[in-house]
């Protein structure tokens, strides 16, 4: 909903704030999109001229064959950035869309996320952050091509127009972009460019077929797991059965002599079996006998943890948000509901299990993988390889799903592959089996989230009390700086500290939004942020639109309040039902995974409306960004 109806209920500034928080809190060097993007878009070395290409900036390459290649700094993991971002650039370039292609960007600061200061993909942020960046890059290229044509015709550039990959003057003069490549490459990129009036858009806002579809229908698309290098070996790792366990000793007497096995070595991640092929490595890995020091997590279980969460939920946690007197407002509410949401640990479960290819040489290292964190992955790989960053090249492949698992602050799947490559003495691909991937941790954390809310006789939300308990994502990672000045993890209170609704009902009611917005509901939120004994991470997916567990409860409870209001006020009832039917929420309020453990007055009605809401919202799930 936020993306679709932006500016109507939520101010753009709020939207950006919400979006950034949604990223898992990567609030590093935050700025509004568009600022300084032209400077960032300029190629570090200035426009490049080769025999047959024109590279006006880091984001586009035009060939004398008319091909326009858009260099995309975000990873394609199904969300469509290899099409949406080229569309932005092609729009301002007035390119012939049938000639537009894409290429993944190498790792370079000029490809950093304009808002987050890292080369990365996440937080549903690629399109909004790239909007002006890619438009400006396209407009700059267009302006140089126009200048080149005007020069050849010896006329004022302002009298030229562009369309479908060519510059026109009057009714008889035309030069295609391919014909202008050499001349344009000799010009200086403009300091400022004029962007189009959105009313004149030909591509943006139109349904356009994805550019990456054909190669995904004939086996041609190369995912990380498909990369093959000459002389490459394949490794499978025996991994700890318990988080935090360490390898004490291993017996490889049987595995060592199995066919295809080249080496068996201890690495920090466990014991790596390096072989000619996957199946040989996997069967030999299964034939290893490894002794583990099981560490402090050996008696941990989630049922006991959830009991502990329930105990903690009885006490007041760290204050997150306080507006008005929520307790008094709740006591005076006409109708009240209360719900406790318990959400479990969740594995990201990408269709493509984790994998990474590394070719480590004496003075260079090349990495091929489906990464969401290029800057971090390269730096971590360089550290293990003992090389400076610039000696490490990371090639981003297609991602068979990401969901946040490939945005790992410790680059676990990359770092271990560099360790294995050190031992392999040849290019090596580390493949995680499905079981390795499922057991491998970095789950979306389990949470308990208790919410109480009340509405007045007119259906206005008057009170919202929230308490959450769960494990911090940021603690123990380089992003711990995000917790500075707070006693809680901002990633653990998504939807709580930045509750996007001044009053939940105001979001649903079209007819009386204005008056509703003036109604100030009282909000009281607190949280228990637990330090991790093992790693957890953010998750995004079409099914859990927001990746932080508490936001699910927020959205679900918001719906409950909305429907409660509908039930007592006929006009609201009609509005609410209509809005739900029309897919209001765009699926982003999907609440189906929640387990509602307790519900109070009015018991039967609220349960009924809760499940009705699931049915209404779930069919409109859609990917974005």
């Amino acid at each position: 909903m936020i993306g679709r109806k932006m500016g109507k209920g939520i101010e753009r500034r709020d939207f950006l704030k919400v979006s950034v928080a949604a990223s898992g809190g990567l609030l590093i060097g935050f700025q509004f999109p568009g600022i300084n993007t032209l400077a960032a878009a300029k190629s570090a070395t200035g426009p490049k001229a080769s025999a047959d290409t024109f590279e006006p900036n880091a984001f586009v390459r035009i060939g004398s064959d008319e091909r326009v290649t858009v260099i995309v700094n975000h990873s394609e993991m199904g969300q469509g950035v290899y099409t949406s971002l080229p569309m932005l650039l092609a729009e301002e370039l007035d390119a012939d869309w049938t000639k537009v292609g894409f290429a993944p960007a190498p790792v370079d600061p000029k490809y950093n996320h304009p808002a987050f200061g890292l080369q990365m993909t996440g937080g549903s942020s690629s399109v909004w952050s790239g909007l002006e960046q890619f438009r400006q890059a396209g407009a700059a290229a267009r302006s140089m091509l126009v200048a080149a044509a005007a020069q050849q015709w010896n006329i004022d550039a302002a009298t030229c127009r562009t369309e479908s990959g060519a510059v026109f003057h009057g009714s008889d003069r035309k030069l295609t972009y391919g014909q202008l490549v050499d001349a344009a490459a000799k010009l200086t990129p403009p300091a400022h460019v004029q962007l189009k009036d959105p009313k004149t858009f030909k591509l943006i806002g139109k349904p356009i077929k994805r550019l990456d579809t054909p190669e995904k229908l004939n086996g041609g698309a190369v995912f990380g797991i498909d990369v093959k290098l000459p002389g490459m070996l394949t490794a499978v790792i025996a991994r700890p059965p318990i988080f935090g366990a360490k390898m004490r000793a291993f017996d490889d007497s049987r595995a060592r002599s199995m066919p295809g096995v080249k080496k068996i070595v201890a690495v920090p991640a466990g014991v790596a079996v390096i072989a000619d092929s996957f199946w040989q490595a996997k069967t030999a890995r299964d034939a290893l006998h490894v002794e583990w020091d099981e560490g402090s997590m050996q008696n941990f279980n989630t049922s006991e943890m959830m009991l502990d969460f329930r105990e903690r939920a009885k006490t007041t946690g760290t204050s997150v948000r306080k507006e008005g007197d929520a307790a008094t407002a709740l006591a005076g509410a006409a109708r009240k509901i209360e719900a406790v949401y318990e959400v479990p640990y969740l594995s990201h479960l990408m269709m493509e299990p984790l994998n990474c290819v590394v070719d480590l040489r004496a003075d260079s290292c090349e990495v091929w993988t489906g990464s969401q964190f290029q800057t971090i992955d390269r730096a971590n790989a360089a550290k293990v390889a003992g090389l400076p960053n610039e000696k490490v090249q990371l090639h981003t492949t297609f991602l068979g799903g990401g969901f946040g698992r490939r945005a790992n602050p410790q680059s676990d799947f990359v770092v271990e592959a560099v360790h294995v490559a050190k031992a392999a003495g040849a290019p090596v691909k580390v493949i995680w089996t499905r079981e390795d991937d499922m057991h491998g941790g970095w789950y979306r954390p389990a949470f308990l989230h208790a919410i109480e809310g009340g509405i007045d006789a007119s259906g206005n939300a008057v009170s919202w009390r929230s308490r959450s308990v769960g494990q911090s994502i940021m603690a123990g990672t380089p992003f711990v700086a995000m917790m500075k000045g707070k006693d809680y993890d901002p990633a653990s209170v998504e939807g709580i500290d930045d509750l996007a609704y001044a009053s939940p009902i105001s979001r649903l009611s079209r007819t009386s939004r204005r008056s509703m917005c003036r109604c100030s509901g009282c909000v009281l939120s607190d949280t228990h942020t637990l330090r991790s004994r093992w790693n957890v991470s953010w998750m995004n997916s079409p099914h859990w639109r927001k990746r932080i567990p508490t936001s699910s409860g927020v959205h679900s409870f918001t719906s409950s309040l909305d429907i409660l209001a509908c039930s007592i006020w006929p006009r609201r009832k009609r509005d609410g039902a209509n809005l739900c039917r029309r897919g209001w929420g765009g699926g982003s309020r999907c609440i189906s995974p929640l387990k509602v453990t307790r519900r109070m007055s009015p018991r039967s009605r609220s349960q009924m409306v809760e499940f009705a809401c699931i049915a209404w919202y779930a069919p409109s799930i859609a990917g974005s960004t």
């Binding site: 990456d212 229908l217 066919p259 199946w279 479960l349 269709m351 299990p353 297609f398």
Partner: protein, 156 residues
């Protein structure tokens, strides 16, 4: 030595006969369009045809293909002329795309057996092919569209 044909080409391989067909296809034959998803016939990403039947190649030993004809996604049609590929293009089905080879190979068997499948037929036949992006509604539409193409005399 194990001999069989892959996408119409005869291959003879010196390989442990218990190796899953999937890894032989991906590694020895370098046809990487067939994907590894689970290794236990639970997700369908590895679906290929052996003598026209849909098989989960991650659990089928390569010996099972001996003397038979194997078709992978690369053999469905390299130029995207198969009605299913055309329908997939028209409906813009894939997102991340990792599962789509398996989806197409399963759909091909369905269409051969049921040239005019109902929604229920499609759901039943495709239930073993998981898509983590959730492209199911478009897959269903694309199968109907492909069925129409075939009915109207499209290339088959």
């Amino acid at each position: 030595m194990i001999g069989f044909s892959v996408n119409g080409k005869r291959v003879d391989l010196d390989v442990d006969p218990s190796t899953p067909l999937l890894w032989v296809i991906r590694e020895q034959l370098e046809l990487t369009g067939t994907k590894y998803g689970c290794g236990m016939a639970q997700c369908g990403a590895c679906t290929v045809h052996i003598n026209g039947e849909a098989v989960r190649s991650c659990v089928a030993p390569v010996s099972r293909a001996s003397g038979k004809s194997v078709t992978t996604i690369e053999g469905l049609s390299p130029d995207l002329s198969n009605p299913l590929q055309r329908a997939w293009l028209e409906e813009d089905v894939p997102q991340c795309g990792y599962c789509q080879s398996g989806q197409l190979m399963s759909a091909a068997v369905l269409l051969r057996e049921k040239p005019k499948p109902t929604d229920e037929d499609i759901d039943a036949a495709m239930t073993g092919n998981i898509c983590r992006c959730g492209t199911y509604p478009r897959i269903r539409r694309a199968i109907h569209r492909a069925a129409e193409m075939v009915a109207k005399g499209g290339a088959r």
